[in-house]
Symmetry: C2
Subunit: 99 residues, 2 copies
DNA sequence: TTTGTCTACTTTGTAGTACAAAGTACTTTT
DNA sequence: AAAAGTACTTTGTACTACAAAGTAGACAAA
């Protein structure tokens, strides 16, 4: 019995997998960087970020930079752990494929 | 710019990724085998199968076995191609993760 | 013989989700 | 001071995943 059900759905969604992946590569980044990197709409990105924050997977820092708001995000310990678990499971699944 | 958007959503859903993975391992299998292997409800499995068939990713063969209906599924060429593309993209994404 | 149970699915109703359009708040330009 | 721009957030809608309920035939018991 292959365990597809345990793939964390909070991470599995492409946009959120993207956010988590980007944040695994750098300690933190801001809204516009994510928006550019993932090529999503403001609204979509914002709601996905909120979900990840609510889950405790990322922390948010708001400052003013050049008189403009600037919000940056980084993975929490929990977020790193959950991403790590997700990656392990997904890698196992991909290995199962014989194509 | 990482290309998370191009992950084929018809394959990405866990149950359907499961179906495709199982069918990449064996030429064909039947409804009950998928149900057991993926641990899903009848209804859920049925609708996911229909989606994959509508997309042309798998073909369906219905017979009677011991006076009971028996339906088996196998990947089409298109299905194999799309799975292959998905796997490549997902592997690239997983490689990006630094955790 | 008809009532009930079993297998093997399919259809349908609902609750939840992803997305972009619209909205907010502040700044800069004209 | 009116308009346009930046940096987001909130909201409405269209879609989706899921299981409960439904269908159809086989066999069993009453």
């Amino acid at each position: 019995m292959l365990d597809f059900k345990s793939l964390n759905p909070l991470i599995h969604t492409p946009v959120r997998l993207g956010i988590m992946t980007v944040l695994s590569q750098q300690d933190s980044c801001d809204f516009n960087f994510l928006k550019k990197t993932l090529d999503t709409s403001d609204g979509n990105l914002s709601t996905h970020i909120t979900k990840l924050e609510t889950a405790g997977y990322l922390s948010i820092t708001k400052i003013f930079q050049n008189k403009l708001p600037n919000t940056s995000y980084s993975l929490t310990q929990l977020g790193k752990m959950e991403l790590s678990t997700y990656l392990t499971k997904m890698r196992n699944i991909l290995q199962q494929s014989e194509i």
